[in-house]
Subunit: 200 residues, 2 copies
């Protein structure tokens, strides 16, 4: 038999959550965001961003940690790499910036695992595709999603303007209206994994 | 950087297609199919099925080979494992039955690669999920999708009642109406691969 990669998932209750100073979004509108993207593209070329799928379990079903901004918009923790930055280092830096306490003693052990999806932005627009569309020779962004393997106990410090939610796979699945095309197909991308549910 | 698994994709024109005797579907309706599934479940327990993602390229964009039955319904080549049968052996057996000439000299070299998705059928119904839903302790089917790495030249013999189509990823993407939930999310599951497009 072909062996599936294994992800240990611990109960949500085995993690501790605190707060830290707000991390404001750099842009206040989608238009601002796309305009800033364009300016950065002129300076640095294609944007590469990296995002983390952090898994916990409740009732023996996998849940993903999402950051909620305001009342509706959810995103994965992560962000843009600096020019030339390594993907693993960049994702660790972004995760620490978004979810770690400032004390290095409390820094989670970010074990960056498998890349599960790659999305391409062909133009300075919101739409992305899970392939670089034909005839697009200069995509504007490449976004990679990684499974991050969490240890049994960690302390997360959540910026005060954000909420950290544990969302079950069955809530994400087939729910593009609420979570968008990238997050709503994470259940399909994780389907090849074997979840080792560890009860606390 | 994290390295992506590589899939060599050759032009559709590098393959040769012939025909062979019809392979009729075992069931003439969805109701018959679910009834047969129930009978088999009573005898053998959960059904495990294996399906192949065979990739070719046209215009440097990946295409997937699908079998079309009648005018609309498309499926991946593959089928049900025999009780106790190994996944790799079973998928090779099914691929040969559906797509190979009877002469062993013309048998394609089926190199079974990565498992990219696993789907679960909780009940004797058509709906499947990319996870085993909570509270389901006895799923009725587990279906696994594998990338199959094709050699540069192969001969495929297609049963006369079926058509073999090469469908581009951009046609499958976000097209659940036409291809169903399993096939329409293959582009997302393949997004982590790097396609090495080889021109003939």
């Amino acid at each position: 038999m072909v062996s599936s990669p294994i992800v240990n998932t611990y109960p949500l209750s085995s993690y501790t959550f605190g707060t830290k100073e707000p991390k404001m979004e750099k842009d206040t509108s989608v238009a601002d965001r796309l305009a800033r993207m364009k300016v950065n593209y002129m300076k640095e070329g294609m944007r590469t961003s990296v995002e983390a799928i952090l898994l916990v379990q409740e009732h023996n079903h996998p849940h993903i940690l999402l950051l909620q901004i305001g009342n509706t918009f959810c995103k994965l923790p992560g962000g843009r790499l600096k020019p030339g930055e390594n993907e693993i280092d960049g994702l660790k830096r972004k995760l620490s910036s978004k979810l770690a306490a400032s004390s290095s003693a409390l820094m989670p052990d970010w074990q960056i695992g498998e890349c599960v999806a790659v999305w391409w932005r062909p133009n300075f627009e919101t739409i992305m595709y899970p392939y670089c569309p034909p005839h697009i020779t200069k995509p504007k962004e490449c976004k990679k999603l990684f499974v991050v393997h969490l240890s049994e106990r960690e302390y997360f410090a959540v910026p005060k303007n954000l909420k950290l939610l544990a969302v079950p796979l069955f809530e994400l699945y087939d729910n593009v209206q609420r979570y968008g095309p990238v997050i709503s197909t994470i259940p399909q991308q994780l389907s090849r994994f074997q979840f080792n549910m560890i009860n606390g």
